[in-house]
């Protein structure tokens, strides 16, 4: 199916989300829509899927202009969408989820499970989407859940599949599997619109690439005719450093020592299993692993947010295993939390207030229990310019900022204290290329000033770019500690729990890897 969008414009008040956007997707092609957060990609897709109505412009399918008053209409015209956040019912089986809303029924409205199952079987055979129709969705890994979403779209006979940031939740191997599925889908004549901000993936899988910036299409190219850095500068509007420039680490004293750290969850299951590692001043240890393998708990244990079942954490020789979060902040731990909206910011407060969330009650921000609002605003302004936070003023509510600027607020706050140890979890998740570059540079700066840095990330690129040493964690245990030069495949395998030849030599020990 050929899709043509012409002159699509969508405004929200005075904000122009999409400005006369033209886009053509040919039958049988994987078309990537690339752009930073806020470039207007998602709005465009919502327009295409009937979730929003354009102010002007036309949507044409196979040369015929169509209107989608609601998503149902889009589905009937053969458009399927896989959202970034899955729209599945966790307690339903795969089959039930797939037929949800379009249930095949027998007499008296009884659900025809057999037909549902057969349909799924047929589709998964056809496209190599292996899923057990009777498995409960909540039991499935994220990658398989995504397959269910794709199945759902295909079972509605989707000819054009929109994938919104499909790889943000996947492991490297799952991503590869997804790409294979995408390729097999286009062979059958379907088209795929692949929305992302990850350059490598675009080049790996897309036939043609359209780049958007600030609501407008900047250009369309093919993956053969372009390079990562060209795409990046199209996205950002200036040339961008894709490689983190850093000197080799000059490790100093041991700053953080974690010995036999064990953490149990609320049900008493061990989620961090006797983990030991050391981080020296002036080096970055990257904790790599797929989401949910205990990294979050390690992060929280380091920052004093959860109870530790066993083990010891020492900072510069001082035991901080049971210290309060406040004591740890005062001792020089800077913390960029994984979920910045939940843990890092009070979005209903201003930038100025969020910049001093940790030091609001001490001089110069307060005196004798009274806040010095002038000083708060003043230092806020200073940090806004130091850390390149883009907003109208310090009195702007954080909720109105873009993800990149929100993250900068956290980074600014955390790095404004004396830093001996920086714990940063998924520091660039959901950020655009420009902000990623910025955050990475700041992290390397912190290292070069002699602080120890622990990066927790599920992004392989980030782990490889930043880590001086990489500890791969799987099911709560450190599989191995390696250097960044061992290569993506090896780390990808370790992330999946495969230790391979000789890799199992050191399970939890600390080594430089090289």
């Amino acid at each position: 199916m050929k899709l043509e969008l012409s002159g699509i414009t969508k405004t929200f008040g005075s904000l122009v989300a999409d400005d006369h956007v033209d886009l053509t997707v040919e039958p049988g092609e994987i078309h990537a829509l690339l752009g930073e957060n806020g470039a207007g990609k998602t709005t465009l897709m919502n327009v295409l899927f009937g979730l929003m109505h354009p102010d002007s412009g036309d949507i044409a399918l196979d040369g015929e202009v169509v209107h989608f008053p609601d998503p149902g209409a889009a589905v009937r015209h053969g458009i399927g969408m896989v959202h970034q956040h899955f729209m599945l019912v966790p307690v339903f089986t795969v089959a039930e989820n797939v037929v949800l809303g379009f249930e095949p029924t027998r007499h008296f409205g009884l659900l025809d499970r057999r037909r549902a199952r057969a349909d799924i079987h047929r589709i998964s055979q056809e496209f190599g989407l292996e899923v057990d129709p009777d498995a409960l969705v909540e039991d499935l890994p994220v990658g398989v859940q995504q397959r269910v979403e794709i199945l759902k779209a295909l079972s509605r006979d989707a000819q054009l599949l929109i994938l919104d940031e499909p790889t943000s939740v996947l492991t490297p191997n799952e991503t590869e599997a997804l790409f294979a599925i995408m390729r097999s889908l286009v062979v059958s004549g379907r088209s795929i619109l692949f929305i992302t901000h990850k350059l490598k993936e675009v080049l790996a899988v897309a036939d043609r690439i359209t780049v958007m910036r600030a609501g407008a299409v900047i250009g369309t190219t093919t993956s053969q005719a372009t390079t990562e850095s060209e795409l990046a500068s199209m996205m950002v509007g200036r040339s961008v450093e894709l490689v983190v420039h850093k000197e080799p680490a000059r490790p100093g004293e041991v700053v953080l020592a974690v010995e036999d750290l064990t953490v149990e969850d609320a049900r008493g299951l061990t989620v961090v299993d006797h983990v030991s590692f050391e981080v020296r001043g002036g080096e970055i240890l990257a904790l790599a692993g797929v989401q949910g393998n205990g990294q979050t708990e390690i992060e929280e244990a380091l920052c004093g947010l959860i109870e530790v079942a066993a083990g010891r954490i020492t900072l510069l020789g001082r035991d901080i295993t049971r210290a309060t979060p406040k004591a740890r902040l005062r001792a020089g731990i800077a913390h960029v939390p994984e979920d910045r909206i939940r843990d890092g910011l009070v979005t209903s407060m201003t930038i100025a207030d969020n910049l001093i969330l940790d030091v609001f009650d001490v001089a110069p921000h307060a005196r004798l229990g009274a806040r010095n609002l002038r000083e708060v605003a003043c230092s806020g302004k200073e940090r806004m310019s130091d850390f390149d936070i883009r907003a109208g003023s310090v009195d702007v509510l954080v909720s109105t900022l873009s993800g990149g600027n929100q993250q900068k607020v956290i980074v600014a706050r955390e790095l404004s204290r004396q830093t001996t140890l920086l714990v940063a979890a998924q520091p660039t998740r959901g950020l655009d290329v420009g902000s990623i570059e910025y955050v990475h540079r700041r992290i390397v700066e912190v290292r070069d000033r002699g602080a120890a840095v622990v990066i927790i990330s599920s992004e392989l690129d980030e782990v490889l770019a930043l880590g001086d040493r990489i500890a791969v964690i799987y099911r709560g245990a450190i599989m191995d500690v390696v250097g960044p030069s061992v290569g993506r495949e090896r780390i990808g395998l370790l992330m999946a729990g495969v230790t391979g030849d000789g890799a199992a030599s050191s399970q939890t020990g600390v080594e430089t890897g090289q």
Binding site: G7, S14, A214, I218, V346, D353, A370
Partner: protein, 428 residues
């Protein structure tokens, strides 16, 4: 925005990476905020109007003489209109003069210099009624602003009143010492009652709504128990009536003996200023607000969430206790079973009416008190039941709490009233 259509990458202008949202208040921030406030004022005014309108319909529908006049609609339309108009007009005139004062009496007092007592009595009564309501409203508003739902105003008020009355009848120092002691006792009594749910929530996660509601029953019945035993029971009394406090513990009247309004008004104003300062400028209040808005972020930022939880409820309970003290030492002078009446719940209404802001709560308590005091006068002079004033109160609050509905009914456009203010208070 940049050019439309296709452009070569090289020609693309070096735009900023993140387009700043257009509504960021710059130098206009003051004006902008004023506009938001003005909209709130607008909605509140319309809510009051709506309440009065529905009240008028109810008067028409319930008063026999008006109904009779309506039965003559076709034969004597003039009668229908005039009876309706005068009945509703009289009712609302009484509501007004009974709560704020009769313009003619006031004019007479100004002209002759006599009769001030009579002229100012309605206003005095309104202020008297408003003071404890305002302080208790602040207690609830402070809780709401910090994500804590203190529904235990009644119990805390009783605890404060009990403590104040004990200090009031047990010792008899000079007033200059006695009154401050009673104030402290009132606050402390309520604070203890607030500490219980605060501690339980901080320690065990017990939800404060349930605990505070249940504690209301505990304190209600504790009061009954106390009033039937020494030292609280009035000597030589079989009924559950408390001992009368000494004169030195009474809150001094502001305008002489004839007008009951007392320094409780000043206490209420001081509390409003205090809470306002705490939320705007106090580090303690900032911590409370952070905890109220996002507990996880507060924890990460090193704020002691447990301590804040306990302190909010202690202060909130203390304020409610202070409200009990104001009515005890200001006008009642002795305890009785079910002390405080509905103030412990009306204060929730007042907090909602005032959108949990101190200034709003002050105004809300005045409105609430005026409707109540005026409603009594209306009942006495026109026979329209006080319940009607309660209905009007309820409808006003109903509309204030649903700004979307007011927008809908009055077709307000571009109003930034949003669900924000109230629902944020109720959320989390």
């Amino acid at each position: 925005m940049s050019d439309t259509g296709f452009t070569v990458p090289a020609a693309a202008p070096p735009a900023s990476t993140s387009p700043v949202k257009a509504n960021a208040p710059r130098g206009w921030s003051r004006f902008f905020h004023w506009m938001v406030e003005a909209n709130v004022v607008m909605v509140t005014a319309l809510a009051i109007f709506s309440g009065l309108f529905v009240g008028a319909v109810l008067i028409i529908a319930t008063q026999a003489n008006v109904l009779h006049a309506w039965s003559l609609l076709f034969s004597h339309p003039g009668t229908t209109v005039s009876v309706t108009f005068f009945t509703v007009g009289d009712a609302y005139r009484d509501l007004f003069t009974g709560s704020l004062g009769d313009p003619f009496v006031i004019g007479h007092a100004i002209a002759t210099g006599h009769g001030w007592g009579q002229a100012l009595t309605p206003l005095s009564e309104t202020l008297l009624y408003a003071s404890p309501l305002c302080v208790a409203g602040l207690a609830v508003g402070l809780g709401f602003r910090t994500g804590m739902f203190n529904i235990g105003g009644q119990g805390q008020l009783i605890a404060g009143a009990m403590a104040a009355s004990y200090v009031g009848f047990e010792i008899d120092p000079p007033a200059i010492i006695h009154v401050p002691l009673c104030i402290l006792a009132g606050f402390a009594g309520g604070a203890v009652a607030g500490f219980i749910p605060g501690f339980l929530k901080a320690r065990t996660g017990a939800h404060e709504v349930i605990v505070t509601i249940m504690l209301n029953y505990v304190f209600l019945n504790l009061l009954v128990l106390a009033l039937t035993t020494q030292p609280f029971q009035q000597p030589h009394q079989a009924n559950a009536v408390g001992r009368t406090i000494f004169g030195s513990a009474e809150l001094p009247h502001i305008f002489g003996q004839n007008l009951r309004v007392n320094v409780g008004v000043f206490i209420a104003i001081a509390c409003a200023l205090g809470v306002s300062w705490l939320l705007r400028r106090g580090t303690l209040g900032f911590g409370f607000r952070v905890v109220g808005a996002n507990q996880d972020a507060a924890k990460v930022a090193g704020i002691n969430v447990r301590r804040a939880t306990i302190l909010v409820l202690v202060i909130s309970g203390g304020l409610a206790g202070l409200a009990g003290m104001i009515s005890l030492c200001g006008s009642d002078y002795f305890l009785s079973a079910g002390y405080g009446g509905t103030v412990g719940f009306d204060c929730i209404t007042v907090a909602l009416l005032g959108r949990n802001r101190p200034i709003g709560i002050v105004l809300g308590s005045l409105l609430f008190a005026a409707l109540n005091v005026g409603g009594r006068y209306m009942q006495a002079s026109t026979g329209i039941p006080l319940d009607l004033a309660s209905v009007i109160q309820a409808i006003i609050v109903f509309f204030v709490a649903t700004p979307g509905l007011v927008n809908e009914v009055y077709r307000l456009r571009g109003m930034n009233v949003g669900q924000g203010l109230l629902t944020r208070g109720w959320a989390a």
